[in-house]
Amino acid sequence: MVSLFILAPLLAIFALNFMFRRLGRFAAFWVGLLFSLAQIELVLLPRLPFWTNSNFILNDVFRFSLGVDNFTKLILLSSGVVLAVVFVITKALIDDEAKRFDFFNLLFIIMIGINGVALTKDLFSLYVFIEVTSITSFILIAFDRNMHAFEAAFKYIMLSALASVLMLSGMSLLLLVCGATGFSAVAQSLAASPNNFTVFAVGLFLCGLFIKSGLAPFHTWLPDSYSSAPAPVSVLLAGIVTKTAGVYALMRVVVSIFGFSPSMKLVLLFVGAFSAVLGALAALTQSDIKRMLAYSSISQVGYIVLGLGSGSALGVAGAALHLFNHSVFKSLLFVNAAAVETQSGTRDLDKMSGLAQKMPYTGITSCLASLSAAGLPPLAGFWSKLMIIMALWGAGFRMYSVIAAATGVLTLAYFLSLQRRAFFGEVSEKHLGVKEAGLGLVLPSVVLGALVVLTGVLTPFILKSVILPLGNILGG
């Protein structure tokens, strides 16, 4: 019944737009929220017959070849959490009912794309579902239809097209050699006859995924897209779209298809370290809160790729955990940024001061997310970063381990700078009348903040039973 993850949102679109049109505008929010929460619920109940039942009525019509493992479930969980948050904040931030309905429809489409990327076991299907997310993201970035949004959307679609060309070229060459596009068939074929031609093809495919992941030096689209997009889209892009269509896809193809050759590890380590350091240094120099968070994303994705580059089960498990943690705390930080922008009317950190006094929930949750991103114990980010650093050290990449630890200090520096400039100190005269954001922004912040703390506290208890097996499944 796992095909429901991609079929149900499509059925919802048809039902809301064509069958129950009058009811659709009202129901779209509740249906979207219900789907997102149901997705979370299903992942948290792994023994439900849902996961194993193949006698599903729609299976006679749709014979999709999908696969589920623990890493897939982690992505489904992340996407459920982020999409639930995005549905709630969209309802709070977009007043026009017609525009909001269009937005919800696009969210259903991107839900199909994300779940499709997570579930597919075929290289070409992976590419097509990545395109679903890319095209929908392009429309969502341009949603406000102002000059900045169009510029960002154009930059996004241009680099996305370049990534698509690289991925398609790589895939065509692999198809030429392997004669199939299924993960296992390509992996077997590559293992049986490695040559320069396939190395070139793999290189092209990886470059495409580096662009989609926003890794330096392929990151130029990311800061503009994140900062110019409407607030719910920034949360969506930073929280799950880039993570799934870029980082998850990268991790999946490296582990399930290409494998960890010494040169593959070196490429991943170099790109990961470069992104981690460059993103952190660039974030230090920003005064626009959303641009700072965007550069922070580049840095954090670098961390994930560093963990992957270690090539060990511990590193892969750490990378997967950091992917989930990053989805949660970066979504939270973008929700906070939306609250600050809505209430204070600015995104310029130099024009803010002491907002925590006026917006206590936003201030506290933002502080939690920042500390988790910086890797302070016992919050969620600490454990995933520790696992990545330990994996790098254990695999003999000690220099990269030191770089990862040093980047953690840089991360702490720019997040403390953000907190100090926006939330600490005396309230500026201009912002004396500022109030806490509405329930539509505060509730997601509090839930995500609680999740950051809960994940951190629970990690030591679920390390052996849940987190470490992620690495075994991928590495196996």
Binding site: I6, L10, I13, F62, R63, F64, S65, L66, K99, D102, N105, L106, I109, I112, G113, G116, T120, D122, F124, S125, V128, F129, E131, V132, I135, T136, F138, I139, A142, F143, R145, F150, A153, F154, I157, A161, L176, V177, C178, G179, S193, N195, N196, F197
Partner: protein
């Protein structure tokens, strides 16, 4: 074979026009034209599935998105276009020579890949491939087209209302 060469020349001409034309809108239309010619080539080379995907995604959807977005933007004056073109030419005039030189240099190395290419699966019925072997891709294509429809609604219809 001669027909394929002719189609390739058309493809090259359309590609050059797409890149060199001064209008962004014409460039987007040129992109659709390139995809359409490529589709003909794919059909002629017995790759109907690739041809269908190329036509639906590149010639259809991407062009719709490009054209609808371009139509929402303010066009540059001819003087601005020419100035930018000159600036671009000044910056990138060396690029074609580098690409051609790299091609010639690569051709001088007799690269051997020792490929063992699989045989083409000519017996496979197109209908079987579309509705059974690649059903998930067809489903995703439908979703992409749906995204395109919403893209036009969001980016285009609103503009009409405002106008």
């Amino acid at each position: 074979m001669q027909l394929n060469i002719f189609i390739l020349i058309c493809l090259l001409a359309a590609s050059v026009w797409t890149v060199m034309t001064r209008s962004l809108l014409r460039s987007a239309i040129g992109l659709a034209l390139v995809s359409a010619i490529l589709t003909i080539l794919m059909f002629n080379l017995n790759s109907p599935i690739a041809g269908v995907f190329e036509l639906s995604v590149c010639a259809g959807l991407i062009s719709v998105l490009f054209i609808s977005t371009i139509s929402l933007m303010e066009a540059l004056t001819m003087k601005e276009v020419i100035d930018r073109m000159k600036e671009r030419l000044r910056r990138f005039w060396l690029l074609p020579f580098i690409v051609i030189s790299a091609g010639i240099m690569l051709s001088l190395f007799s690269l051997k890949f020792n490929l063992s290419l699989p045989l083409p699966e000519e017996q496979m019925d197109v209908r079987f491939v579309l509705w059974h072997a690649r059903q998930l891709d067809v489903f995703a294509q439908v979703v992409i087209l749906l995204a395109g429809v919403f893209g036009v609604v969001v980016l285009f219809a609103e503009r009409k209302k405002e106008g």
